[in-house]
Symmetry: C2
Subunit: 145 residues, 2 copies
């Protein structure tokens, strides 16, 4: 979790996009959060950095960030779709059921399992999406109070 704002900013520009104040604010909001954020939460949190930040801009920026794989949708237990910063490539997320703290899992060993699925179903597997729910260390502690 040592990714910096400057790296993100550069990634955005490398994708051919302008680095505007609202976009800076959105990146800051995502960077500051330990849990997936909804568009409305991103707006609210981002307004600390750009007071005028509009919700429309949040939607538009998320669309861009997702298209260049800088951000990924994560399913939170109840509602849908929180967004978190992604490290490039194929990853999964573990989300705490209590506090929604997120940890990214970079490696993924599902190959054998997926091969078996392919054999059994006749499908040619192209992709998969795994999300893991659990209870984070901090929340486990809390239980013992």
């Amino acid at each position: 979790m040592t990714i910096t704002f400057d790296v993100l900013a550069e990634q955005l520009r490398a994708g051919g996009h302008k680095l505007t104040q609202p976009r800076r604010a959105i990146l800051q909001a995502l960077l500051a959060s330990a849990k997936p954020l909804s568009p409305a939460e991103i707006q609210q949190s981002g307004q600390a950095f750009c007071a005028e930040l509009g919700l429309v801009t949040v939607y538009r920026t998320l669309e861009i960030l997702e298209s260049i794989d800088m951000v990924r949708p994560v399913h939170v237990a109840d509602g849908c779709h929180g967004y978190v910063l992604a490290t490039p490539g194929h990853t999964h997320h573990v989300v705490c059921e209590r506090c929604h703290a997120v940890v990214e899992i970079v490696g993924c060993d599902l190959g054998d399992f997926l091969d078996r699925v392919a054999a059994r179903t006749g499908y040619q597997i192209t992709d998969h999406w795994l999300e893991i729910a659990g209870i984070c260390g901090a929340c486990q502690q809390e239980k013992m109070d």
Copy 2:
């Protein structure tokens, strides 16, 4: 895929719910579909069985069916949340990217992988959600035309 309407109907009543015409229609719609259906699609398809079927009732019924694990939300590539009938217990789904045909995977071998995730993150893993995308047999054929 040999589940019958009568079995579903009985499951619903076993859960303490009435077996009404609109609910019959919703079960028929789900039973007849090879792919996940949105609430609006369920309404439309269900109106063949109950002409007056309202969308509100579809939402309410899905909530019940989900609560007794008769139906499960599945994420379709673009939009969110289609619903499919579920076999009880823990399953996953393979969804065709082209035609959305769904196959349910009953076993799941993720135990070792999840143990490693637990060890690495300190999270106590409570649940997981895996969806697999692919290309079904029929759509693979089609490619060769």
